[in-house]
Symmetry: C2
Subunit: 218 residues, 2 copies
């Protein structure tokens, strides 16, 4: 405690500020969260916040960055184990639901701060887009692995976007019904139907001959 306490205190303060700021901003939104609120809530004086992050916008960007890395780390790996599509889809949806349940702040930050892009700085806008792009890329890779869609990028794109819309819609519903979880049941049915609609058979292997599908080819 005498060698390098300053540094330790520094990073600890930094984290404390980010914790409180993330909590408050995800609850009240960016504009409604004042520096003084954060200062009062985390106990550190206002100037410390400015020493660490330079501006309110700097805090916002740092909060977003941390939320993004945390959420992406919590998401299941892209390679989903399982013999057939149904099995892989089940594990995939279970893990998504779990990540969704355990990280309520992540999406809410993305929503709340994404909404006020107009006023935000260039760095903040870039970070918000980075966040959302990473989420979309992860979803695309995942559904591609689940359904075996390496050679059907347009299908995995559609399935991924659809999944994200249902997830964001649920995040929205969540501030009307606070306990609302991601309803994987209907989502599962919908994804299977969408895949079938594009001629992706509900088996483990990718269809070499998708002629049997509802829309054999497009």
């Amino acid at each position: 405690m005498t060698q390098a306490p300053a540094q330790h205190r520094g990073t600890r303060s930094r984290d404390a500020i980010l914790d409180t700021a993330g909590e408050l901003m995800s609850r009240h939104g960016y504009a409604a969260t004042s520096i003084s609120m954060i200062s009062a809530a985390c106990g550190l004086p206002v100037s410390s916040l400015y020493w660490h992050f330079g501006s309110k916008d700097g805090i916002y960007v740092a909060v977003l960055q941390r939320a993004r890395t945390a959420l992406l780390a919590a998401l299941p790996p892209v390679e989903v184990p399982g013999a057939d599509v149904a099995q892989r889809l089940d594990t995939f949806l279970d893990e998504v639901k779990d990540a969704f349940r355990r990280h309520p702040h992540g999406l809410k930050l993305l929503l709340g701060l994404g909404m006020v892009q107009q006023d935000a700085s260039a760095a903040a806008v870039a970070e918000v887009h980075h966040y959302r792009d990473a989420l979309l890329a992860w979803a695309t890779d995942s559904v591609s692995a689940v359904f075996g869609l390496r050679d059907r990028p347009e299908v995995s794109d559609e399935l991924a976007r659809f999944t994200l819309r249902v997830a964001s819609g649920t995040a929205v519903a969540r501030w009307f019904e606070p306990g609302a979880a991601l309803e994987t049941g209907p989502l599962r049915v919908a994804l299977l139907a969408l895949a079938a609609h594009h001629g992706v058979a509900p088996h483990g292997a990718r269809p070499e001959d998708p002629a049997g599908g509802v829309t054999g080819r497009e």
Copy 2:
């Protein structure tokens, strides 16, 4: 123009304030929209806003009320014409897509102001919930009419919630891809699959014998 100009000017000013406030609040959110901004944008002095609405919160509630009535008036009637399910579903989705396209403010207000419920007044929170409840009730009645679900309320409830989630998710996606429209194609496939999953046949008549259980076949 000499008999009752005061009244006319009054209601015209009122509308102008509401127009500007709705536009600004849907873009920047409630907290980031100041009385002075509204005043400058609509040309009327600050005190006029207070004379008409009493407080910033009063403006907010009035804006929400007007957006709700406008959006609900723009939504298609519950009784959808059409011989069979597929036909009714198509017209229904087309009209929803159209309303969604023509009234971008409505949902954004609901989202943006719904997010900051924590800080808002009781009247504002009540109005937000009223808004969302009306939307949900309309969606439930509509899908019930489309699929003929008068005796399966739990199914129409699920379909309506699913539709609303996709719609809100699209409204969210909209502030990343400004032109994004409601993708009725995938939604159509999903709703039909969900209905089938609950044993609702894709015909005009309601199924008298849904004994097939959860799904006709899986």
